[in-house]
Every structure is written in structure tokens, then in C-alpha cells.
């Protein structure tokens, strides 16, 4: 594991995360992420092969509830907060091809 991340990798990660960065931002973020990842590299000195990973602190699994109808959120109230709505649905720009 390297403690560093290249400018190209930062650009790639930004695109995966649906973020657009300009050239200055790319430079700054690359430098800052390198520092954090160098600190993370401290963990390399530990032999953790026998230690199991921990995803969360309290061991609850398969939390179920009784199959009983309960009121859900008011649809109109929810839709009133959306940026764009049509016929009781969230409206978005085209997902394929060019805009009409």
C-alpha cells in the first residue's frame, strides 16, 4: 500500500463520486489527500492477519419488525420538497442520449 495518490487517481475518484474539479482544485486535493493517506500508512506497521475486521460495534443482525401496516410519510409533503415533480413522481432530465 502506497501512502500516495496521483493527480490522475484523484481525477478518477472524483468522477466516480460524481464531482467535477478544476485544475486548481485537483492540485490542492491531491496534495491534501496524500497527507491523509500517509498517516493511514501508519497502519502498515501492524500485523493484523489474525485480527478479524469489525464493521459495527453492537452485534445486531437480521433486525425484523412485525408485518403490520403503519403510516408512511405523506406523499405530497415528500414531493413538495423535490426539485422537480411530475404526476406524483420525481422528474429528472433524460438518462440516455441527448436532451429532447
Amino acid at each position: 500500500m502506497s501512502g500516495e495518490i496521483s493527480r490522475d487517481e484523484v481525477a478518477h475518484v472524483a468522477s466516480l463520486a460524481r464531482l467535477r474539479l478544476d485544475d486548481n482544485e485537483l492540485d490542492t486535493f491531491t496534495e491534501q489527500l496524500c497527507v491523509v493517506l500517509e498517516t493511514a500508512a501508519n497502519l502498515n506497521s501492524l500485523d493484523l492477519s489474525d485480527v478479524p475486521p469489525m464493521a459495527q460495534p453492537y452485534p445486531l443482525t437480521n433486525v425484523m419488525r412485525p408485518d403490520v401496516l403503519v403510516p408512511s410519510l405523506d406523499r405530497d409533503e415528500v414531493l413538495a420538497q423535490a426539485p422537480d415533480v411530475e404526476d406524483s413522481r420525481f422528474r429528472v432530465p433524460p438518462s440516455l442520449g441527448e436532451a429532447p
Partner: protein
């Protein structure tokens, strides 16, 4: 303004009206919050209705509850139906949630009066509350200094005496560190003890809601009200919890308390170490046995946290895509709209953590970063478990320093270091709290941290009360 317990007692017995107390709170906010900027939004109408309902209950001989008429401020990452909830982010500006967080319902059922929503570092990512899209909060003890963060607005609101109680959220220290810097009590409960339904998620395996208060008894009272099982939160602990208020004055006689070696050395200011040693002496004088204990894995906590928290954040914050709520910046197709919305809506620290997390989770790096950090987490939990075989509680500083100047820590890593003492409890899921204990060389408040095993809040509050009593004796 009196403490929460005192206020509730006087309102329940009809000595004061809840409406008058709410007015006094808004009066204090109006007088000084231009300077402090603890609040992003005041919920005056909702407060008026709730205060009137409390007064009506008293007039009709009904009990409005243990927090009757107590004004309380809420960190603005908890949903309040119909009232703005921004997470201090432009991406949620103007959004009004269609539901209340579970803690909001519990507080109001107990008679509390919600007066407003407080400032935070955007999406609770930060340690100074400078990183808010709506401007920084200032420390009421010295307005050139930060209040800490990320729950800086909630800490400052209590420290400035706008309200006797507030709620924050703590993912890596975001309640305890601002409590220390503002000279108030701040509690991070056991993971799963307080419902997170309606808390906008940052890092789901770490986040926990908890109270700020002007004294330990009020913090215990508020914790007892907000804690307990909630079927709406799948991580909520189903077992009944032990109430903490009835035993808060029981003292520490016979308790074994460990002072954590690794958090008493490098990187911690001398005046903070001196105060923590004094706190250890005070607990000894109160009848506890205090010894040093080594928990070596705590020094890896920071590195593990800054992989785990961003990884979870990168996943949680994927939902802010301009489709269902908040701001949208138009684009010619969905992907372009998503990118434009997120790029304009998120601030730099949020972008930084999303990218860090996306990288730590990405193919080829998952095992080296996220997987390794999760193993360190087990290591820390195991070492805590060993320590708790010999000790009832642990003690450390809360923050490496007192409140620093606004603008003093411009590089991200310097700010991340603020959480070094508080992070291990989040990784292990254990409760911990900060109690004010004297001042540093600069005259600003110092907080000491009490750490407890899973679900031992009652024991933790006893020690906190003993420290609070000892601190009163010093001044």
C-alpha cells in the same frame, strides 16, 4: 437561565410559565447571537405552540413531563418536520423534512421546547464549526476563538446561556470536543443507545446523538429522555437501558479508574495534561483508585477513523444527487445534473472526505485501507475490553488543546488531530463524555474525558458528577 431540572420543576409547579421561559430564551438569543452565530434557524412558532401546550397541561393538572418547558437547541443535522434542516450545506438549503427525528418526538413528549437549529461543520465533518456554508460559530468565552466542532453551535448555545440543553451528534468527538472548548458537559452515548432515525447520516457505524448541558445532572436527565429502543432504527439496542439520573449523586467510592497513558503525552498541551492529572487526584480524593493504564492501539485510532468515516460518508452522501430533495443544478442528462448539483452543493471538506472514502473503498485498495482500518477497530475494542477487566472507567483529556483562534488550523490534517482522544470510543462504540475541569494557561475552559464500557452510562455520570463537584471546589 436556570438549569434544566430546576426550570422544569418550577414550570411543573406553576411558578414560571413555559411561554415566559421560551421568551427569555429567544430574548437571550436575540441579544447575542449576531455575535456568536450558534443558530441557523429559530423555530419560534413551534416553540410557542409547545410552550403553550405545556402551560395548558400544568393548568389542567396534567404532568407535562420531566423536561417541562425546558428550551432546547438541536444540531441542524436532525430532521424537524416543516422546519429547515441544512446540515450547514448549500445542497440542503431550503429543504424542510417531512418528518421529525425520533429524538425530537421524545423531547417534545417530555415537555421540552425546541427553540432552533444550530450551526455545524458541513455534514458534521470538522472540529471547529468554521466549515459551515453559512459562516462560523464563535466561542462565547472568547469570540476570536472557535467553539470546536462539529456540534459547535449546540455547544455555544449552552455556553452562552441561550438554552440549558442542546443536542449534538458525535462521530469522532463532535459532541465532546466542542463541549470541552466551550466549558460545558457533552455526552456521547453507547452506539445504539439513542435512536438515529432522522439524524442525517455521516458515518453510520460511528454516529451517535447525545446531549450538551450546563451541568452533569441535566445531561443525565436529557440522556434518560432521549435514549431507549426505537423500532425505526435498526441499530437501536433492543434491551431496556438503566436510567442514569437516580444514581448520578452516588459518587465514585471504590471505583477503579484508569488514566490512559497514550492520551497523556505527545501532541497534548501541558496545561491540558496538568488539569487531567488534577482530575485524577480529585477522583482519588473522592474515594476512587486511579492508576495509569496503557492502551497502545488508541494511537492508531486516528488513522483508522480517517479511512472508515470517509468510506461510510462517501456511501451515505451518494443520496444527495439533486433528485429527491435539496438543491438541483440542471444538466442535459441525469449524470450531468448529478455532477453539477454535487460540485456546486458540497463544500471542500465534504468533497475531500467523499473522495478519500471513494478511494479507500475502490477496487484494489479496499483491503489495504478500509479492511485494515476495520481490523484496527477490533484491536482497539479488544484492548479496551482488557483494560475494563481491571478498571471501571477510564480517564483522559478530551481535546489536545483549549479553543484555538478562528483560522488557525487551515490544513486538514491539523484539524483532524483535534479528535485524537475522542475517536477510540467511537470506533469501539463505547460511551464517553467531557466534563469541564478548570481552565488552561490562556484562561479558557479545559475538558476531561470519562470513558466507560458499553452501556455503563450510569457509572460514567457518577464519576462526571464527582468531577463537577470537585471543580466547583477549585474555583
Amino acid at each position: 437561565m436556570s438549569g434544566a431540572q430546576e426550570l422544569a420543576a418550577s414550570i411543573r409547579s406553576g411558578v414560571q410559565s413555559a411561554v415566559a421561559v421560551a421568551d427569555a430564551s429567544f430574548g437571550a438569543i436575540n441579544e447575542r447571537d449576531d455575535e456568536i452565530h450558534a443558530f441557523l434557524h429559530l423555530t419560534k412558532q413551534r416553540a410557542q405552540i409547545q410552550a403553550q401546550a405545556v402551560d395548558d397541561a400544568v393548568a389542567n393538572g396534567n404532568d407535562p413531563g420531566p423536561l417541562a418547558g425546558v428550551p432546547i437547541a438541536i444540531k441542524d443535522n436532525m430532521c424537524t418536520r416543516g422546519e429547515p434542516t441544512t446540515c450547514s450545506s448549500k445542497i440542503l438549503e431550503g429543504w424542510r423534512p417531512p418528518y421529525d427525528a425520533t429524538v425530537i418526538g421524545r423531547l417534545e413528549a417530555a415537555g421540552a421546547v425546541i427553540v432552533g437549529k444550530t450551526n455545524l461543520d458541513e455534514f458534521a465533518m470538522g472540529s471547529s464549526t468554521e466549515n459551515s456554508a453559512f459562516g462560523p460559530t464563535r466561542n462565547p468565552h472568547d469570540t476570536t476563538r472557535v467553539p470546536g466542532g462539529s456540534s459547535g453551535g449546540s455547544a455555544a448555545a449552552v455556553a452562552a446561556d441561550f438554552v440549558p440543553l442542546s443536542l449534538g451528534s458525535d462521530t469522532g468527538g463532535s459532541i465532546r470536543q466542542p463541549a470541552a472548548l466551550c466549558g460545558v458537559v457533552g455526552v456521547k452515548p453507547t452506539y445504539g443507545a439513542v435512536s438515529r432515525y432522522g439524524l442525517i447520516a455521516f458515518a453510520s457505524s460511528l454516529d451517535q446523538i447525545g446531549p450538551f448541558a450546563q451541568n452533569v445532572t441535566d445531561a443525565a436527565l436529557c440522556f434518560d429522555v432521549i435514549s431507549g429502543h426505537d423500532p425505526m432504527d435498526a441499530t437501536s439496542i433492543p434491551n431496556p437501558l438503566t436510567p442514569t439520573l437516580p444514581t448520578v449523586n452516588d459518587g465514585v467510592a471504590g471505583m477503579r479508574i484508569g488514566l490512559v497513558d497514550e492520551l497523556m503525552g505527545e501532541g497534548i498541551d501541558d496545561d491540558v495534561i496538568a488539569r487531567t492529572n488534577q482530575a485524577a487526584e480529585a477522583l482519588t480524593a473522592a474515594g476512587a483508585t486511579v492508576e495509569r493504564v496503557s492502551i497502545p492501539a488508541t494511537i492508531y485510532g486516528l488513522a483508522a477513523y480517517y479511512l472508515i468515516a470517509p468510506a461510510e460518508a462517501s456511501s451515505n452522501l451518494a443520496r444527495f444527487d439533486g433528485v429527491r430533495y435539496g438543491q438541483r443544478v440542471e444538466g442535459q442528462n441525469v449524470a450531468a445534473m448529478n455532477v453539477a448539483t454535487r460540485s456546486a452543493g458540497f463544500g471542500d471538506e465534504v468533497k475531500r472526505r467523499i473522495m478519500l472514502g471513494t478511494y479507500a473503498l475502490s477496487s484494489g485498495y479496499y483491503d489495504a485501507y478500509y479492511g485494515k482500518a476495520q481490523r484496527v477497530r477490533t484491536l482497539i475494542a479488544n484492548e479496551f475490553a482488557t483494560a475494563y477487566e481491571s478498571f471501571d472507567l477510564l480517564l483522559s483529556p478530551t481535546s489536545p488543546s483549549t479553543a484555538f483562534e478562528i483560522g488557525a488550523k487551515s490544513d486538514p490534517m491539523a484539524l483532524y488531530m483535534c479528535d485524537v482522544c475522542t475517536i477510540p470510543s467511537n470506533l469501539a462504540g463505547h460511551p464517553a463524555m467531557s466534563v469541564p475541569f478548570g481552565v488552561g494557561d490562556d484562561g479558557l475552559p479545559v475538558g476531561v474525558q470519562i470513558l466507560a464500557p458499553m452501556l455503563e452510562e450510569a457509572r460514567m455520570f457518577k464519576a462526571a458528577k464527582a468531577l463537577e463537584d470537585a471543580a466547583k471546589g477549585m474555583s
